[in-house]
């Protein structure tokens, strides 16, 4: 079996996620000095489920995986990269690691302010669209709110 065949297999990817999950839970157990039963109580799962986790078995639901991570005070950060790029980088012995960068706000100045985006929609409201006047009241209230807000900003 060559490297490419292994790393592009389902078993490899699933196995890596399972092992990462195992290591996270083991670290948590060591840090908190708790055993399987206590861990099961803390995570709100059965002892059998904890055994499954520690035996690198079972195919976890995404919601369960997130739940477990949050219970262990960890935030799962999922990312997807191009497969060919991954294979090429792997061949160059480069691995993907999480890096922290500043959030990019540079595109915000190019977008319209919120009120400018909402008012045209609200202004299209007419009695022809809604026969019941009572239904229109909350929508007109929203429209008025944004008009007032816009005036306050421009003034």
């Amino acid at each position: 079996m060559d490297r490419k065949e292994l790393i592009t297999s389902k078993e490899y990817v699933v196995g890596k996620i399972q092992l990462t999950l195992l290591n996270m839970i083991q670290d948590y157990m060591v840090k908190k000095e708790i055993k399987r039963t206590e861990l099961a109580d803390e995570l709100g799962v059965t002892k059998g489920y904890v055994s499954q986790l520690l035996n690198v078995a079972g195919d976890h639901k995404i919601s369960k995986l997130v739940e477990l991570s949050l219970s262990c005070n960890k935030m799962p950060v999922v990312n997807f990269v191009d497969l060919n790029e991954y294979i090429n980088n792997d061949a160059l012995d480069k691995i993907y690691e999480l890096s922290l960068v500043d959030r990019d706000y540079s595109t915000h100045s190019n977008t319209l302010p919120l009120e400018a985006r909402v008012i045209p929609i609200a202004s299209t409201l007419s009695k022809s669209m809604y026969s019941d006047e009572a239904l229109l009241e909350p929508l007109y209230a929203i429209k008025n709110f944004y008009v007032v807000k816009k005036e306050a900003i421009s003034g």
Binding site: M1, R3, L6, Y12, G15, L19, N23
Partner: protein, 129 residues
């Protein structure tokens, strides 16, 4: 007398070197895969290689690896476990060496362990260990 050499396992890239034994010019892992071709067990070989890679990277793989007891005290013997398959290897200075692969037939894998140790001791004899 069997002839032994070793080669790097191409599929695994880890901090620690992982090699496979070549017995009479036949790599054990390759032979094991060949033996499993056409069976559903072949996917488990991938899982086992994933576990070995994680282990060779210094990660903990829990019950997927067992250190065998009662064997040669000079080397640490590993059993890598998947649902139906077993891979056996030893710890050599600076590397892990895969020596034998088998299908789990008995609850305690004793048949596989016997076969593994037979090859292992013969190989270690050639190294005068």
């Amino acid at each position: 007398m069997r002839k032994f050499t070793t080669q790097i396992v191409d599929a695994i890239r880890a901090k620690e070197l992982v090699e496979e034994l070549i017995i009479n010019d036949l790599p054990v892992l390759e032979q094991f895969e060949l033996y499993l071709t056409g069976t559903t067990y072949l996917t488990e070989v991938r899982s086992l290689l994933t576990y070995i890679e994680h282990f060779a990277n210094g990660g903990n793989i829990g019950k997927k690896c067992k250190i065998l007891k009662g064997g040669n005290k000079k080397v640490t013997e590993y059993e890598f476990i998947s649902k139906h398959l077993r891979l056996y290897g030893i710890q050599m200075p600076g590397k892990k060496l895969i020596i034998y692969g088998g299908i789990k037939r008995q609850a305690d894998s004793s048949d596989n362990i016997t076969a593994f140790r037979l090859i292992c001791y013969e190989y270690l004899d050639t190294l005068n260990l």
